[in-house]
Amino acid sequence: MYRFTPQDVKLLEHQCAQLRRDVVNMVHKAGSGHPGGSLSAAEMITALYFHVMNIDPENPKDPNRDRFILSKGHCCPVYYAALAHREYFDVKELDTLRQYKSILQGHPDMNITPGVDMTAGSLGNGLSIGVGMALSARLHQQDYYTYVMMGDGEIQEGMVWEAAMAAAHHRLDNLVAMVDVNGIQINGWVNDIMRVEPLADKWRAFGWNVVECDGHDMRSVLVAFHKARAKRGAPTVILAATVKGKGVSYMEDNNLWHGQAPNDAQTEEAIREINQAEEGL
């Protein structure tokens, strides 16, 4: 689980490119959705679902499985794509994102989508729920990990810091938080709207083990998860430096693509760019 070979990294990078293509196509087909934060989270989601997490898609409710909460629930396209390729459900379902009666709701729903461990979408809630899951593991002497992914805009929610206090208080070393630090929220730059820096100092002050990584370098992401799982006596937060809209040049660092669907031509251009980048791997 912790070890990885250059071949692993290559396979994960190809898988990640596939998730990027899926995100663009899904949001295009749906006519709405959130491509920017899905693309910035792609490497982390890929690493989790195709390498790090102890999961069995054949047995999605296994009590001993690792848990994942996409607290920034609007970025579900990349999450759904990962679940589909791990065969929690048919990849054809990806075409139904956000449609009436689809198993892929606009935000994750644990009762509808196979593989989704927790409903999400209202920002700021995931870390508290992750604390509860981690406490349950300890209560029942189970060794699963709980992973919670947040956005950097999301951590403006006060509840995140209530949970940060609780996780450190209870020394939940079976809890791993991730912050997708893409620097952008819907109306602009995070640090213009409500400054969240200095991130590492804040989390350290709350009693967390802080691991920083390049969120678009698969090796760096895998090493970060390795460090997080190895830590004892405190929860770990991975601060992943990312680019919103990563992999699609016209979406990168542009808050307009937080929650907007590409048109036909834009979709074609995005797929071309993602393919080109993949050929260079």
């Binding site: 644990m110 927790m118 209202s122 809630n125 729920i129 899951m133 609780a166």
Partner: protein, 314 residues
């Protein structure tokens, strides 16, 4: 007067139930709500405190419940239903997880603590949430038995409890059943008094007094406010032709509103809602001061019955 407030009777029973039922846990947020903040002393590892942080409290409970634990969350109703309202709505009600939210210090009966701590609107808020079941005892005996019913229940549940001791109106053999409507008095069909919660004692007193005066009423207790068991309410309205509701909650969106909705749609009947007059609570050493102000005394119930009987005669 019962010796225990409903909140303490409920907590006492839950403490007892912990022994034979190893599969539930308790979450609290540093309040003296119902006595279960000592649960962890008796059952180590099964109580989780989240400090003074109600949103995190509710989120933590959700995480525990999602891993298969039955969870009781207890704090003051104002915080459970408002500070953490969205967590209850989206992560307990929408997910349907097995969390019992225990809200204490409800109605004007909070007394000295005043407006900030007196939940006058909690039922209205919880009643608006899909999937939520709402129950409320009327005395220490029913609160004690209610704990068993809550433990056996699966899914989102709101338990409404009260701060101070009230007179016991039930006998020790009383068994709380979710959904059941109880007939507390059945003197006749001049009017139906429908109560929920601790003011059922006043409803019974009013019925006894009216009976002595030659007016014969039926008194129903509706401990389950949602889903509402409509049949006995409609039957009482049909047979009595006049209804008075009684509760220690705002007249908006509580029992009175629930009964009015059902009667308006299915059995239009003259009725009057006795309850808090759409105002906040305030400090007092004697809650009867507030009940007088809000026209929630035994005499107010008696007068309301007579007024509704006069309306049906027309």
């Amino acid at each position: 007067m019962g010796t225990l407030a409903t909140r303490m009777a409920f907590g006492k029973r839950l403490m007892e139930l912990g022994a034979e039922n190893p599969d539930f846990v308790v979450c609290s947020a540093d309040t003296k709500a119902c006595g279960i903040e000592h649960f962890g002393e008796k059952y180590p590892g099964r109580e989780f405190t989240f400090g003074i942080a109600e949103q995190d409290l509710m989120g933590g409970a959700v995480g525990l419940a999602s891993c298969g634990n039955k969870v009781f969350v207890a704090t003051f109703a104002v915080f459970a239903t408002m500070r953490a309202c969205e967590q209850v709505r989206t992560f307990i009600c929408h997910t349907g997880l097995d969390v019992t939210v225990v809200g204490t210090h409800t109605g004007l009966q909070v007394g000295c603590d005043g407006a900030t701590h007196a939940a006058v609107e909690d039922v209205g808020i919880m009643r608006s949430l899909p999937n939520m079941t709402i129950i409320q005892p009327s005395d220490s005996i029913s609160a004690y038995s209610l704990a068993d019913a809550a433990l056996a229940f699966h899914g989102p549940l709101y338990v409404r409890l009260h701060r101070n001791p009230v007179p016991d109106i039930h006998t020790p053999d009383f068994r709380f059943e979710i959904g059941k409507v109880y007939t507390l008095r059945d003197y006749g069909t001049d009017c139906a008094i429908i109560g929920s919660g601790i003011l059922c004692a006043k409803a019974v007193q009013a019925a006894d007094q009216l009976n002595a005066e030659g007016i014969h009423v039926r008194v129903l207790e509706v401990p389950t406010l949602k889903p509402l068991n409509k049949a006995p309410i409609l039957q009482a309205a049909r047979e009595c032709g006049a209804v008075v509701t009684v509760e220690d909650h705002n007249i908006y969106n509580g029992l009175g509103s629930a009964v009015a909705e059902v009667l308006a749609e299915e059995e239009p009947t003259p009725m009057k809602r006795i309850g808090i007059q759409d105002r906040f609570g305030e400090s007092t050493n004697d809650v009867e001061d507030l009940y007088r102000e809000h026209h929630m005394t035994v005499q107010d119930i008696v007068q309301a019955v007579k007024a509704q009987m006069a309306r049906k005669a027309k």
